[in-house]
Every structure is written in structure tokens, then in C-alpha cells.
Amino acid sequence: MIDFQAVSKRYGRLPGRGKSAVRGLDLRIRSGECVALVGPNGAGKSTVVGLALGFLRPSEGTVRIGGLGPREYVRSHGAGYLPERFSPRGGLRADRVLGRLARLDGLDRGEARRRVREALDRVGLAGSRRRRARDLSRGERQRLGVAQLLLRPRGVVLLDEPWGGLDPEGKARLREALVGLRGERPGAAVVVASHDLDQVARVADRAVVLDRGRVVDRLSSGAGRDAGTLERRVLECGGSTGRGRAERDGGRPPPRARGSG
């Protein structure tokens, strides 16, 4: 379904000044599969998500979704996407935020209204539908982000650090939402890039461990569901402290990473 072939991505065009975020990535995500991208900061997880959705262009290699380029696929089929911080326009009411997105999803006015009500209900924001986005807490805004995923189930869904800012109830609702999405579209390919290994282990069929833009490990479904194994693999790459990477690099401190990778 989503096919990365020898994909590299460099930021910056000046010779010697650019930064490689992804290097020679070969990855295939099949229909109906939920794959987790894990790894330390700066591993390239968010870049992979951006490449898959056509927000970024690969410096080398090709990305295809269902045989099409990412932008062609998204323009003709649409995709699900949840960023680390869902940031709608602050002055809009929660139901208006979703209503606008539902209309862009191609739903007619009546259907959009119905789906918005259902989605808000499913994420526990039914009572907040008339509140402005700027008045919602960070966790509530992220739940609103989960709700926009539910407006129209898509064949491809990508989540980039989706659990950031969510309380335990919000995390549980996101997990339920993912199960619901996969139930409504059994063929959906789901990619979750996250540091939250406990959540990842609960939802992913398999995990791909990235480090400095390279795939360093692939854990099949049995191992991929084990949070302990995932944590060990990530810590071997450097983890959130960079300890493992520093040890592997001969004690040098890890490079400072921008963003979540």
C-alpha cells in the first residue's frame, strides 16, 4: 500500500551544510497493517510521515501509495493525519473546525453535521462543541484532532506523535478511535510515529526502529507488541537520553536534535 524505495531526504541545499533526515529507506506497509515507527529524537520519524503524505519531496528514491505518488493519491483519495499538536484556528468553535474539514472531505452539509456530532461524541467532547478552539486545553485540542480523523475513514492513516498532551482517558479514546477506524476500513494502512512505546505496543502489528534516518531494526508482530522489547531496542539506539548512541559512538555526546524526529 505505502512503498518507500531507497528514499533519502536532506534538508538544506548548500553543499556540506544540509542535514540528512532519512537515508536509503526501504519500507513497505501493507493494506490492513498498523506499523509503528519508533526511535530517538532526530531519528527521522516525522520526516517519513511527511514524505508519505507528500508534504515533503524525497531527495532520492520514490514513495508510492497504491501505485500513485503521495500527492496524487491524497488528492484523489484523501488520507487521515494527526500531528503532534493539532492547531486549528483559535477563534473557531470546535464543531465549526470539524465542519469545515468535513466539507473538504467531500461530505454534504447534513452528512457533515451528523459525522461531526458523532466524532465529538466518540472523543468525549460532545459538551464542548460550542467552545472556541483557543479555549480548549492542549489535551482537548488533541482530542479534537482525533475527532477530525473520524470524520471520514481513509485507506491510509498517519499519526505523528499522536499521544502528546493526552491524559490517560484521551490516550484510551485515541486507541479506541484507531480500532474503530480499522474496523470501518479493514484495508486501511496505519502508520504511527511515536515515543510512547507503551501505546505503540498496544496498537501496532509490527514496529520499525529508526536511528539517524536509517532502519536499524524491524520487529515482527509478536515482538512488536512487547513494550519492553521496543524500549530495549530504542535505548540501544540512544533512547530519549541519547545514552546508548553515545556509548556506541565511543562516548561522544549525541548531536542535538530539533523537533521530535
Binding site: 511527511g50 508534504f55 484523489s76 477530525q148
Partner: protein, 238 residues
């Protein structure tokens, strides 16, 4: 607020703040001329030099630019926040989306200006401009200036700020006839002819055909380049 940045500059980092600053600057230019002023913004008996004439036209331009910045939504802050990403995963054609927002902002703005002028006329304010003329003048100026704002916003971080600065500087620099003025005028909308066309429209006369064509072509070229850039550019996460 970032330490060391004066409050006014920090305020200008926000799109609504920038729009408010532009609108305030426009109002500041308008208010001293308001009491007893004619349709062109001058009190009877005062002599108006060419610089003042341009200034009088500028208040409307700044108000227009302020509202365009506020409504247009094609500025770096939106791109940087990653807000467009959740829109662009929908089955939409990006240039079409940007163009529809741009045109909707222009139409709303021109309609609002005409409504205010109409209300002033109904209230018996003698200095109120002709609503139909104001509608056309707003559309013409907005299309040309809005194109520039859209283009600079698409090319540069906070490009709308650069556009506003250029519009502030333009009359003074253009009047001097210097090399810098000629260079600036090559990239700016036809400011002086536009101001004349605006005055003609507000007075109920039709604009010069050449000015009309120049403003429409400038707006179309700037908008087209901006849409191409917005179509091709990468959208990184916020």
C-alpha cells in the same frame, strides 16, 4: 514574548496583530483629515501637494492591506504552524483552495466597504463616497495589492510585513525619482495610477482603461506566481 523584543514588535509577529497595526496606521492617516473632509479626505481651503494626495490614498490602501492580511490566511504563521497539513490531507487542489480564500477575502472586503459607504450616504454624510465606485475601487486596489501580499507571503517568512513596509515606503521613494525608486516601482503595483483611478472611482467617474488593464494584469501575474509557489512548496510540520 521573546526577551529583548519590544512589545509592539512581538505583537506584530501575530497575523491579527499585524492586521491591527496596518489598520491603525491607516486610521491614523485618516483621522486628522476627517472633520469636514471631502470625498478625497481633505478639508476645504487646504492646499494638497502631490505627497499629501498619495498619503490620502494610502489610508484606504493600508486598511485594505490590514484586512487582507487578516483574512487571507496565506502567511508564514499559518504555514509554520502546520495548520495547512490537516487541510491538505483532504482531497483538495491546493492552488484552488488558496485562490478561493483570496478571492472570497477580496469580495467580502469590497462588499463591506460599499456597505459602510452606503450607510454613510443614507445617514446623510455628505463626504461619503459613491458606494458603487468604492466597491470597484476596493476590488481594483485589492486585486493588485492583494496579489503582492499573497506573493510575498508565499515566498518569504512574514512576507506580508515586507509588503506593508514597501507600501509605506513606496510613495516617498517613488516621488524622489531615484534609482531605488525606479527599482521599487518595477516590483510594486502601479501605485500612482492606482491612486488616481481610486480618486476617479470615488468621485463617480470611470478609471482610465490603461490603468485598469495594468492593475488587473499585475494582480493576475502576482497571484499566479504565488499560487505556483504555494503548489510546489514543501509544508513542514509546525
Amino acid at each position: 514574548m521573546t526577551p529583548g523584543i519590544p512589545a509592539a514588535l512581538s505583537f506584530a509577529r501575530d497575523r491579527a496583530g499585524r492586521a491591527a497595526l496596518l489598520a491603525a496606521a491607516g486610521a491614523a492617516l485618516l483621522v486628522p483629515r476627517a472633520p469636514g473632509a471631502g470625498a478625497e479626505g481633505f478639508r476645504a481651503g487646504l492646499e494638497a501637494g502631490p505627497g499629501s494626495g498619495i498619503l490620502a490614498g494610502l489610508w484606504g490602501v493600508l486598511l485594505l492591506a490590514g484586512v487582507l492580511v487578516l483574512w487571507q490566511g496565506v502567511v508564514a504563521s499559518d504555514v509554520e504552524s502546520g495548520r495547512f497539513r490537516t487541510t491538505f490531507v483532504r482531497p483538495v487542489w491546493r492552488p484552488g483552495l488558496f485562490l478561493s480564500r483570496h478571492v472570497a477575502a477580496l469580495l467580502l472586503l469590497a462588499a463591506a466597504a460599499a456597505a459602510v459607504a452606503g450607510a454613510l450616504r443614507l445617514a446623510g454624510a455628505g463626504a461619503a463616497p459613491d458606494p458603487a465606485g468604492l466597491l470597484l475601487a476596493s476590488l481594483l486596489t485589492g486585486w493588485a495589492l492583494g496579489g503582492l501580499l499573497l506573493l510575498l507571503s508565499a515566498l518569504l517568512d512574514r512576507g506580508d510585513v515586507l509588503a506593508a513596509v514597501a507600501l509605506f515606503l513606496a510613495p516617498g521613494v517613488l516621488e524622489q525619482g531615484t534609482a531605488a525608486g525606479r527599482l521599487l516601482s518595477a516590483g510594486l503595483p502601479p501605485m500612482l495610477p492606482l491612486a488616481e483611478a481610486r480618486r476617479a472611482l470615488l468621485a463617480g467617474a470611470g478609471p482610465d482603461g490603461d490603468v485598469l488593464a495594468a492593475a488587473i494584469l499585475y494582480g493576475a501575474a502576482a497571484t499566479g506566481l504565488a499560487l505556483l509557489r504555494l503548489h510546489l512548496r514543501e509544508y513542514r510540520a509546525g
